[in-house]
């Protein structure tokens, strides 16, 4: 046996259980990858709409349901027919049409004098910009119309109203993630407080409090949710605070069970012997020690709430237009599945990978925090 030299000045730093848990979590490759994916999706959802060249509610009437593509729109074969139809709307006769790189040049004539404001007809189209009339003839009945082609990218395609799917998917991510987080925080706060109080006080109070939970349990959940929609219909933030207020039942049960074991531990008895008040013991000793399962349950509750929101949106009870969420986008995509599959695919990828990542993080946390594996 060898003696290890220890320096009495600096005692060896102890490893807390949280340190161990963190190390175990970081060693779990699936969990780490999921955390990266989740962080990326969150970041994209926050920054994407700011960086995107399109607004989430801008309607491009010339680009309804265009497929997702890395190439820029308009397509080559799209330019001439659109230009000609715009000219027709402007009541100008096109004598010659020529495409010169990124510019369209056309000789136009009219029976009446050409108003210089007719360029607006072209600018109003989504395909062209910087329209200008040049070489106006003496009688103002013929001129040359020039316009630049306005290139745009729709990497995720556009929806049935001609709105950019990419920006909408990102905006939807903001909404869905916010809702998931908000409702979860509400549910966790109520559940932890309720469960810890019930478990710690025990006896008849515990019985009463748990009986309330049992009764709320047997009320059909969807009935509750639909009633909440009926009450808070127009305000989805308020609604999801309410949903959180319904989702706390499981949490209360889990925390109560934990509390029952924790309150028999020596350190709680020590605190009692020292005369710490009940509230202090619950806050200082019980709740911090239940956090392990709470964190695990939280990562599983967020996807549950996101799914619930999607489900409500699917029924048409969720977010109102033009705001959107992944659930709304998916239900729209499901309706347009034939012929516009990209409307379903992209939001589905985002929703599914978020849920996937959260599930794996939850599993990883459970493994990391499970005392059995130590």
């Amino acid at each position: 046996m060898t003696m290890t030299a220890t320096n009495p000045e600096t005692p060896a730093k102890g490893r807390s259980l949280w340190d161990d848990a963190r190390d175990r979590l970081l060693a779990n490759r699936a969990a780490v990858a999921s955390m990266i994916v989740l962080a990326a999706i969150t970041l994209i959802s926050i920054l994407g709409p700011i960086l995107s060249p399109h607004e989430f509610d801008t309607v491009y009437r010339d680009y309804v349901k265009v497929p997702a593509s890395l190439e820029a729109y308009p397509r080559a074969e799209q330019v001439e027919p659109t230009f000609l139809s715009v000219m027709k709307r402007a009541r100008l006769t096109v004598e010659s049409y020529e495409r010169d790189g990124d510019e369209v040049v056309a000789k136009v004539t009219s029976r009446r004098e050409i108003d210089p404001r007719t360029t607006r007809y072209i600018d109003r189209s989504d395909l062209f910009k910087n329209a200008a009339l040049t070489d106006m003839s003496e009688d103002k009945k013929s001129a040359t119309m020039r316009a630049d082609i306005n290139y745009m990218h729709f990497y995720f395609g556009t929806d049935a109203n001609g709105r950019d799917m990419m920006t909408r998917t990102f905006i939807a991510g903001r909404v869905s993630l916010t809702i998931g987080l908000l409702a979860t925080i509400v549910a966790i706060s109520i559940g932890v407080l309720y469960g810890a109080t019930s478990g710690y006080l025990g006896g008849r109070v515990d019985q009463m409090m748990m009986r309330v939970v049992d009764i709320l349990y047997s009320l059909p959940f969807i009935f509750f949710v639909i009633m909440l929609v009926v009450f808070f219909g127009r305000n989805f933030i308020l609604m999801f605070i309410a949903v959180g207020a319904v989702e706390w039942l499981d949490m209360a049960r889990i925390v109560r069970g934990q509390t029952l074991t924790i309150k028999r531990q020596e350190y709680v008895q020590a605190a009692e012997a020292m005369g710490v008040a009940d509230g202090g013991i619950v806050r200082r000793h019980i709740i911090p020690n239940t956090l392990g399962p709470v964190v695990v349950y939280m990562t599983l509750l967020v996807p549950k709430v996101i799914l619930l929101e999607s489900f409500l949106s699917f029924l048409g009870l969720g977010i109102q237009e033009p705001m959107t969420s992944w659930g709304v986008l998916i239900s729209e995509g499901a309706r347009n599945l034939q012929g516009a599959a990209w409307m379903l695919i992209f939001p589905s990828i985002f929703l599914t990978s978020t849920l996937f990542a959260l599930n794996f993080i939850g599993d990883g946390l459970r493994d990391a925090l499970d005392p059995k594996d130590r």
């Binding site: 047997s218 639909i226 029924l315």
Partner: protein
């Protein structure tokens, strides 16, 4: 045993009573009424309608009237489906939902259980990882995404199965809804079975069984699985209640005349009796299946006894 069942069933009555009370007053607080239309009805018409449905009486009286009729198992007339009573509506739709739900339940149990056992026997090997990844996928993809995709592939592109409709419960019409309904349950059952099976395979009684020289099949199916199925059974109680009382999403997508849709329709149209009826039916199913689960527990685990 009989006394236990009887006492549990009697104990359900106060619970049901509370559920009826809470939901009765909840739906009445909701703004709007069953006869609110885009164009308001004439005052006289409204008055008569309210009279027929006892809506003009004080809420307290209405509540007592409802309790009385429900004690006689009469759920009252529907406000929205004018020519039907709730009992008639349920008599048509509940068997359909139950048939779908029961099929999905069996499918989930057989497929999910088998997958879970296989994954547990090959723990931390490629089979295990594949099954578990598929199970996670099954849990995370919502059924309103799965349903249209399956319909598109099997119904539209390949043309093997009808896209929707009930058609008197013909086999081909049932396949897609049952599969979509079962998929998330398959995933959960597989995960649960795998977890508890791994634990069971390490336990003493399984080691003893192996030491006695029983065949692998006997050890796994008779000794390990019997204990490992317990968490699945307790999960399946509430899940079965939810499955058998219909799914709004599946019934909407596949156009199936089940009971699931009535919840949403009833609540949105303020069809008080319809909502109350569905609440009571769902609550009864939940209570019943929780009892079944507890009895199954006693059957599977000899240490559990109800005397």
């Amino acid at each position: 045993m009989h006394r236990y069942v009887l006492s549990r069933l009697l104990g359900a009555i106060p619970t049901l009573f509370l559920i009826v009370t809470i939901s009765f007053f909840l739906i009445r607080i909701a703004p709007g009424g069953p006869f609110d239309l885009e164009r308001p009805l004439e005052a006289k018409v409204m008055e008569n309608l309210n009279k027929i449905y006892h809506l003009d009486e004080p809420l307290w009286n209405q509540y007592l009237l409802y309790l009385k009729s429900i004690a006689q198992l009469d759920f009252g007339p529907s406000f929205y489906f004018r020519d039907f009573t709730i009992n008639e509506l349920f008599a048509q739709s509940l068997p359909i939902s139950m048939q779908l739900g029961l099929s999905a339940l069996c499918l989930a149990l057989v497929v999910g259980g088998t997958l879970g056992v296989f994954a547990a026997l090959r723990q931390n090997r490629p089979t295990d990882y594949t099954v578990m990844a598929a199970a996670t996928l099954g849990v995370t993809i919502p059924n309103f995404v799965v349903a249209p995709i399956l319909t598109l592939i099997l119904g539209v592109w390949l043309g093997w199965l009808p896209v929707g409709g009930w058609n008197g419960g013909a086999f081909v019409n049932v396949i897609l809804p049952v599969v979509t309904l079962a998929l998330p349950q398959v995933a959960v059952v597989a995960r649960l079975t795998r977890g508890s099976m791994i634990e069971a395979l390490r336990s003493n009684h399984v080691r003893t069984a192996r030491a006695y020289g029983l065949t692998n099949y006997m050890v796994i199916v008779v000794h390990a699985l019997r204990g490992a199925i317990l968490p699945v059974v307790s999960y399946l109680g509430p899940a079965a209640a939810a499955l058998l009382t219909g799914s709004v999403v599946i019934e909407t997508i596949f156009g199936i005349p089940g009971i699931g849709r009535y919840f949403v329709q009833g609540a949105l149209n303020r069809d008080y009796t319809l909502v109350m009826g569905t609440v009571v039916v769902v609550a009864c199913f939940v209570i019943l299946f929780n009892l079944v689960v507890d009895l199954l527990y006693a059957l599977l685990d000899p240490r559990v006894r109800y005397d």
